[in-house]
Structure formats: C-alpha cells, structure tokens
Subunit: 307 residues, 2 copies
C-alpha cells in the first residue's frame, strides 16, 4: 500500500494525515500554526506532526510528503516565493529541502487552494470531472481549476483569484484595495459583516452558520441576509460557468454545510444568469472532503508526482 | 509547402483564403453569407469559394479544408449541432461530409471564436503564449482561451461566453435575457447604443470608430462615452486576468483598432482592479491578424490536425 503524509498549512492550524493512495485518511493530527512566528517555528510544528504520523505509519514506509500552503511555491527555492500574506515569516523558508533531509524522503508542495481542488478532483465531489471549478467560501473566496483533467494554475501560479472578480462596480471596499469584489459580498466573512451592518443584535452570537440557522427558523433579518448573500454568490458562480463551462462546480467552506438551504435557491438564482447549455451541463454540488480536502489533496498530489 | 483552405463563416460574409503553414495568406476571396437562407445555399457559397481558391492554388494540392463557424461542431454529425443563432438554417447541415466528398480532401471545423483565438496564438498577437485569453469586441463580446498551449473549450464546447459575465447586477438588459452582462456595456454595439441614448445627433453617422475619432478630436459627448466604455471594458478584462492569470490578453474586433487611444487608458483602469502579480505578468495587446484571424486560424488548425 502506498502511503503519503499530507500536510495542510493554514493561517490558524496545521493539519496532517497519513493518507493511502485511495485517498483514505489513516491517521490525523493537528496543531496551531502560530502564524505570526518565524518560518522556522512554523516548520518545527510541521516536523512534529510528521514525526507523530511516521510513528503511526503501518509499514513505517512513508513514500513522500505533500504539503498545501498559502502562496506560490517555487520548488527550486524549496519554499514559498510570494503570496501567503497571512504567514509573513513563512515566505522564503526552504521547507522542502528541510523536510527531505529530515525525513529522508521526497517532499513536494503546492498552493493550498490548488491542493484542495486536487483533493476534491481525485477523491471528492469532482471525481471523474473533465473540467471542474472549485471555490471555497471562507474568510475570502478561493478558487481552483481542473481543466482537461489537469490542474490549471495560470502563467505564474495565480489563476483562480475568483474572489477578486468585480461583480458590483464601485461597490464594497475589498481587502485587496479594489471595490466590488465578489468576496466582499459572498465570503462567509462578508455575510457576518453585513449582518452587523444591518442590525444583528450586538449581544448575540453571529457566524455564517448561525445566520443560516436563524433564517431556517424564520428570523426575517437572517432570511433577508441569506437571500442577498445567495443573490451575490450566484452572480460569481454564473460568471464562472459562462466563462469556464465546467462539468462540475464544487462549493466548499463552512457555508456549504448549509446544504439544500443554500444549494436549492442558489441553483434557481444561477440558472437565469447563465447560458442555458452551460448551466444544463454543469453539476453544482457541495465539496465532500470538508476540512480533509487539504491533507488528502496534498498526499494524493504527492503520490501522483512519484515516477 | 503545406497549404490549406481556411474558411471563416460569419453572419454577414464568408471569407476564404489559401494559407500556408507559416500562416501566410496566399490568396483571399469573400462572398455574402445570405444568413437567412437554407444551409444548402450557404454551403453552395462555400463550395464556390473553395473552387476559386483551388483554381489559384500554386501546386493544385490543397491538403485540407479548415472552417470556423458560429456554434458547436460535432464531427460525427459533420456539422453544427447547436448555437449559431444567427444562422438558423446552418444547424444540422452536414457540411464536413459534403466538403470532403466534393473536394476529395479532409475537412475539419471548429467554433469561430476558438478558431480566431487559435489563429492569434499560432500566427498573431498570442504567438508563444502559454496561457492566452482572446476577446473580440463586436456585436457582442466573444472569448477564446489557450490554456497550457492548447485550446480550452470547456466540457461541452461553450467555454468563453465571457460576454455574458455579469458586471452590473440588475443592469442593462442583454440580448441573452439576463441583466448587466459585460457585452451590454463593452461591445461595439453597446457603445453605439449608449451614444444614441445620450443624445448623439440623429442626423450624424455613428459607429464605434466614429465615436473614438470624435473623442480624439475633443468632442465632449464622445469623450464621456469612450471613458465610460473603457471603464466597463476594464472590469471584464480585469476579472478575466484575476481568474485566468494569462501571460497574454489579446483584444480584437473593430474597437481594438483605436490603438493607444483605447489601450493606454484601458491598462490604467485595469491595473487597480487586478491582483498586482497577475497584472504584472500579463501583456494586454491588440489582435494583429485583424479580419484574417478566422481564415488563418481555420487553415492552421486544419493543417495541425493532420497526422
């Protein structure tokens, strides 16, 4: 049995797993990232996770380590060369060389959204797709593409910045400095921000999950927020369908757990905004790997890179 | 020397050319399409053009006929199976079988925008690109993609419907029935329509070309129209750069002949709407094959399909 270590480096936590070539997680570990620390500190956490996973490895023969990280990876430099704004100390850390030396096995890394997309493509909601668009609704909106059954990452690795697609000219200010970006309307963060702007009770908990729950229970403010959220979400989804004509459109991130409460009105709102033939041939569905997409994608990407 | 016939079937005219494998047009012919006629009539025009071209062929050995057509081609059915709304009689006409029989050589066809994109990729503004986005500003806005040095056409051949990307929610009604589509703002047709809406003198000629000329000559209404046009154009261009991270972005169609009057303010407007790294690595430039992109693309696509 081929086994790899998959590592998913996030801004809050680092997840690690032993994953077999069927995309099954055999053992999982996690620890805080300490994103504000130097790269060496973050790397020492990854070392620790790898050691724990190796100790649990059934055959003691890990074939390769795969890692998904924010930013753009340059294998020649052994690390992230740009992006990864939430992990400033991580840029320039030659973690690939370090992991190869320390664990005496090959190591490979790629952008985290691309890795998650690869996970869903290989073992999740986009399995069997020829062309898939995967988006994650979280702090922002990340996007990844599988085109012609291969990762599409653009000319310098930055394809999929779908969150900064402008859907409302001169609209809300985005964290990127531009106005009217999709993620300023349709990320989980945007939904919560909008709730506060529209008078969500100050002493009451507020998250995307809670807003959806309140909407399901008949709260009119929550229903209004959800309807407006889905309207904006649908514009970006429709645009990507018209542009890319995918056969599968995967939506991940916490918001996607709302299930039919999200997907039923979303599909009804996307349809009139898309070309009929493109809509008809596209399956819009929730991600199925959840927060394991990163570790599974990293491990499978690594295993498939082996000669 | 390898020579092919390239045919570019449009709603108004059919263009044909003898093209060598360097993408050079050796001889060109054209005739009206008679778009409202039956498929057989349109096909008889194409026959006539092919005969004229064969009569001019230096070696009398045409290797293959390539054809760009509106709509989606199914080679198994020998013709267009859907789309091509401007040529209703053409859908279902098995023109590929007919051309093969009549001229005793292979014939191949593909969607016209894809063919033009391929022409610019092989012999025009996108030569040498790894990933290119090509758009045409005309009656609508067509889009074609080269991803990983290969035509990307999506799951059912409909990728590149960039004209129906929504950039203004609840905005202008588009011919597709949706609201706020990019082509309702940034096609040549939209510019002319807007001119009439904003009081362009009724007894005065009006075209995109004329509006740009008047703007260059200091006419304030024309300047206002052009500025607003470029503002909207830039939103879609920026979105496609953020989504696709191409190294080359080609803009064709009549409007692109405005040259620096278009491209200088366009680049200045696109920049703040794009992620810095994606903008920096993308060359935005006018198409160079002009109205020959279709015939050159069709011929080269055909020649490159030969074993």
């Amino acid at each position: 049995m081929n086994v790899a270590i998959g590592i998913d480096l996030g801004g809050t936590s680092i997840k690690g797993a032993l994953v077999n070539d069927q995309g099954e997680c055999l053992y999982e570990v996690t620890c805080p990232t300490e994103a504000e620390q130097k790269g060496e500190v973050i790397l020492s956490h990854i070392d620790q996770l790898c050691q724990e996973l190796i100790a649990q490895s059934p055959s003691a023969s890990i074939q390769i380590i795969g890692l998904g990280t924010p930013g753009i990876v340059d294998p020649k430099q052994g690390g992230v060369i740009s992006g990864a704004h939430n992990l400033p100390g991580w840029v320039g850390t030659p973690f690939l060389f370090h992991l190869q030396d320390t664990f005496n096995c090959p190591a490979i890394a790629h952008n985290d959204v691309t890795i998650m997309t690869y996970g869903e493509f290989q073992a999740g909601a986009a399995q069997g797709a020829t062309n898939a668009v995967c988006i994650t609704l979280g702090t922002g909106i990340g996007g990844g593409f599988i085109f012609n059954q291969t990762i599409y990452e653009g000319s310098t690795g930055y394809a999929g910045e779908v969150g900064h697609m402008i859907i409302e000219p001169n609209g809300r200010l985005c964290t990127c400095g531009s106005y009217g970006c999709w993620e300023a309307y349709a990320s989980a963060t945007a939904l919560v921000k909008q709730a506060h702007n529209q008078g969500w009770p100050e002493n009451s908990d507020c998250s995307a999950k809670i807003i959806f729950e309140h909407a399901a229970n008949g709260n009119s403010l929550a229903q209004e927020l959800v309807a407006s959220y889905i309207e904006h979400l649908s514009t970006g989804v429709a645009n990507l369908i018209n542009i890319c004509n995918p056969d599968v459109f995967v939506i991940g991130g916490g918001v996607s757990h709302a299930g039919q409460q999200l997907f039923e009105p979303l599909l009804a709102t996307v349809q009139p905004k898309t070309m009929a033939f493109a809509f008809k041939s596209c399956h819009i569905r929730p991600a199925t790997l959840g927060n394991k997409a990163g570790v599974i994608g990293a491990a499978l990407f690594a295993l498939h890179s082996l000669p």
